[in-house]
Symmetry: C2
Subunit: 393 residues, 2 copies
């Protein structure tokens, strides 16, 4: 049984490399990973830009200036100002090359076409220099950046409409277990409603992965083998839930072996998710997650998500990790590393009730996981703990 760090390192080491590159228009680029360094083709701002409403002057002294014109945002005027000349100017407008400063309108007294300054002249005040934010040829966004909304705005501001991104992996979710019935159907004695398929589909969608399919398979060796063989041939990443523990009727492990999946690891010294399986066949990554929904989701966040990000070339492969003070005491049973469903609050992080692997309920309230390393016995209120941020919603 390996430890959490080794397991995570092995997952990243064995993840497939991104291959296919797509061109997308920036409004469709959210959550994709850049496959190129994006270089600016313009200066930003593209001209000396007024940061205020006021007067651009060819200034020399605190004497009256003569207003000889007006430049609004969007105008292309570049008048020649003699010493003592001013132009009325507005925020965002181009500052004439012959102006050396902009005086805020609140600092000026207007007398007909003359203005008197109420502050002393400071060269280049209230002027955004050309290229202040970025210059032609500068790196705007680096290869490996996962595109967020703010990036879309930044790219648009540089006039960029299309970018090269990596194709996202296709993902099959294979749900096993004779005990499963579909939500909406009658629930006979001994059965439970299937939830891992819809849960993982929804969580993948939240994280930007829409190319997913759910395959349901009975606890039958031949059917399991056939289903796994099919998805391994047709998807980039396969996530199996259930069927990976040691019981006589868990066919997944045997089927994976028989179809030639190389085991990278099986079992991690953690709670939940001890019977986690990770393997590969050719370029396909295969996870065997526990059947219990909360254990499956925990393993998904900690192991599957980093593999997905790595396999599409992302620089950041994990959720943010921060140290936060605990709001509650917590006693650990056993010596395995713990991933505990938790909620960030104002003053720290609270470990939630209902940590059982079978209970998905607490994950609804959770926006973080608290990680406690192996052999932690007790943690106390106020103690800083490693907190993995999962959601801001």
């Amino acid at each position: 049984m390996i430890d959490v760090k080794t397991a995570r390192d092995l997952v990243l080491l064995h993840s497939a490399k991104p291959s296919e590159v797509l061109e997308v228009i920036i409004k469709d680029a959210l959550d994709f990973v850049l496959a190129e360094d994006v270089i600016s083709k313009i200066e930003m701002p593209p001209y000396r830009q007024s940061a205020m409403d006021g007067y651009a002057i060819n200034g020399f002294d605190d004497t009256p200036y003569t207003v000889v014109g007006e430049i609004k945002a969007g105008d292309d005027d570049n008048p020649n100002l003699n010493i003592g000349d001013a132009v009325r100017i507005f925020t965002g407008a181009p500052v004439p090359d012959t102006a050396n400063t902009v005086i805020m309108q609140e600092k000026v007294i207007v007398h007909g076409s003359k203005i008197i300054l109420e502050e002393s002249i400071q060269p280049n005040k209230n002027i955004r220099p050309k290229g202040e934010q970025i210059k032609i040829g500068d790196l705007a966004l680096a290869k490996g950046t996962t595109i967020k909304g703010a990036h879309v705005g930044f790219l648009a501001s540089l006039g960029i409409t299309k970018i090269q991104v990596y194709k996202k992996p296709s993902i099959a979710i294979v749900v096993t277990g004779n005990e499963l019935v579909n939500p909406g159907d009658v629930l006979p004695y001994g059965k439970v409603y299937e939830s891992n398929g819809s849960m993982l589909t929804a969580v993948l969608s939240e994280l930007g992965y829409k190319n997913t399919s759910v395959v349901t398979v009975e606890d039958d060796y031949e059917k399991t083998k056939k289903a796994l063989n099919d998805v391994i041939q047709n998807y980039d990443v396969v996530i199996v839930t259930g069927g990976v523990s040691v019981g006589d009727y868990d066919f997944v492990g045997r089927a994976l072996k028989d179809i030639g999946v190389e085991e990278i690891f099986y079992k991690v010294k953690q709670k939940p998710g001890k019977p986690l399986f990770f393997g590969k066949k050719d370029q396909v990554s295969i996870f065997g997650l526990p059947g219990n929904p909360a254990a499956a989701l925990s393993c998904f966040y900690v192991y599957v998500y980093p593999l997905l990000k790595k396999s599409e070339g992302a620089c950041n492969t994990s959720f943010p990790n921060v140290l936060m003070p605990l709001l509650t005491d917590y006693t650990v049973k056993g010596d395995r590393a713990q991933f505990l469903k938790a909620r960030m609050q104002n003053d720290g992080v609270e470990i939630l009730d209902g940590q059982s692997s079978a209970m998905i309920r607490a994950f609804g309230d959770a926006n973080a996981l608290v990680f406690l390393p192996e052999n932690t016995k007790q943690v106390h209120k106020g103690q800083n703990v490693k907190t993995i941020l999962l959601s801001v919603k």
Copy 2:
């Protein structure tokens, strides 16, 4: 000029109430807000469930037991066990009513049809009680919950396929400014590329708001008035960018007044985003955000997002706020409250370079905003600051 808290309180006070309710299937429910208390119609687990692979016994003593049968996950057997009887049982399978404990298979020695226990009997061990997670009639999810992936899993596990949610607001983004040209076009002197429309559309989409339109309008009073009138009649929320400062050529404020928009506030003692406008007409909320992209986005996160969540009935209307230690010193210019683009790291939060209102670049690296209250002069490395978490990606 009002302060940040007053402005936020006024936004929430004046937000429209949710009206229309929709029924959605749970796989389409992500990011919607529940319009009903969801009550469980089943016990979860629905039967006494084995938490281990092992043997369910009618136990009385540490003597050999006779294995009289086998129950797999999904089976509906409920055999009558006499004292001294055991059944082979697997994780997730129903524990017979007549069994009082489950012994892990690792703690048993098998001799033909007899087993010898290697641990003493503890009643109900390795058995998940019926209804442990939730009982019939219990509240599963409360009205006002914003649905996340884990909730979809929880609802499915309860057999629920459809829920009642509030309709999301429709949002018009009105972009003003003669200086704007479309990305991809040639950039003449004095012009900049329009980015607020695509940026806000993308950020709204990340947050679950897909029903958005961008309207572009020239700096012309009549055209501005007509465009604003149109969107106020056709959308629930209107976000105008630009045109709200005091310059002679900013028509937005005048046009809003002339079409009967009630000003709730104009100008907030903050940086960026001082000239923020908020008003309403009938049930429509209208924001006037600064034209500078970074200032517009900051105001969006702090004011517009809470209004959107409130107007669709959400209990949580803001991003998580946490206290985090600063990784950097920072000196404040002026006395306004500050919203600073920042990045959470392992040990705290870093205030990023490039805080200018005009610079959207730093927002790409940011996953948080650091809030410094009015009259803060300096903050120091190690000091705890209020941090608003914006993204985990």
